[in-house]
Symmetry: C2
Subunit: 132 residues, 2 copies
DNA sequence: CGCGCAATATGCAAGTTGCATGTAGCTGCC
DNA sequence: GGCAGCTACATGCAACTTGCATATTGCGCG
């Protein structure tokens, strides 16, 4: 059904993008240096939502612009040259900071699912429960 | 109002958006029905990154278009009418699915920070390069 | 030698977001 | 009554991001 070009959000599954894509890439690079194609495949095997390879390459470029990764051309192997990426100190710091925020985010979500009467004492909201 | 039109990404802190914003809203609505202004304030108090109120309202609209929340006008109180939102069954399901994906995502991140030589060495963990 | 693959890059349309601003109704004050 | 100020929601615009298709380059190989 080639209906239209551009992005379609109708039938496709959720995709990984934005800061979650960026931080996943940083996490993989924490383990070992890698190039884009490899990272794209690792994402496929990770159990996370898929992401387009073009998006991965652009995310890596942006991470480099932000100073979170650095790259060089690797021509030591056969085949096309690869742009090898590695994590910088700033990238590692960003990753830690992000994980911190993520923990708070996850608390919000799981707290909601748990029935939100967990003894997490930081309430103060106006939700006196009046469920039927 | 002369200089900076549109969005600026230079000096502002990270903001909450996309699926993380959407799922945070769903999580709040799991506890109790609420309207946009209220949700926007809850987000401010949540410890999560901030998000613009216009973005919150648009996110709620999209969630309604997707069938994850439903809304009605509440005129029972004084003051301007409020659009009351509540979580639908589809929204609850989506929230659970999302939290599932989130757990995998967090495993990737924390696994990376742990040094990925954690003693839980399952066969063929992260560093399996089966590169042809 | 042409074909396909590996690896990276880009053009385009559609979607998303930050910020400023606009609308509508109510409250407080004189 | 008049009017500023608040609450609650909505929108216009420019910048940014993304999915998909496609292009490009280099290599192996039958």
């Amino acid at each position: 059904m080639a209906e239209s070009t551009g992005r379609k959000r109708t039938t496709s599954e959720p995709r990984l993008h934005g800061e979650m894509l960026a931080t996943s890439l940083l996490a993989f690079l924490k383990g070992c240096n890698a190039y884009g194609y490899q990272l794209s495949q690792q994402l496929s095997d990770s159990g996370l939502p898929q992401s387009d390879s073009g998006t991965v390459y652009r995310a890596l470029r942006q991470l480099e612009n932000s100073g979170f990764v650095s790259s060089f051309w690797d021509t030591s192997d056969q085949g096309p040259a690869r742009r090898m990426y590695s994590l910088t100190a700033a990238g590692e710091l960003f990753l830690r900071t992000w994980i911190d925020a993520l923990n708070r985010y996850q608390e919000v979500l799981t707290g909601a699912l748990a029935g939100f009467d967990v003894p997490a004492a930081t309430e103060g909201d106006s939700t006196e429960e009046e469920v039927t």
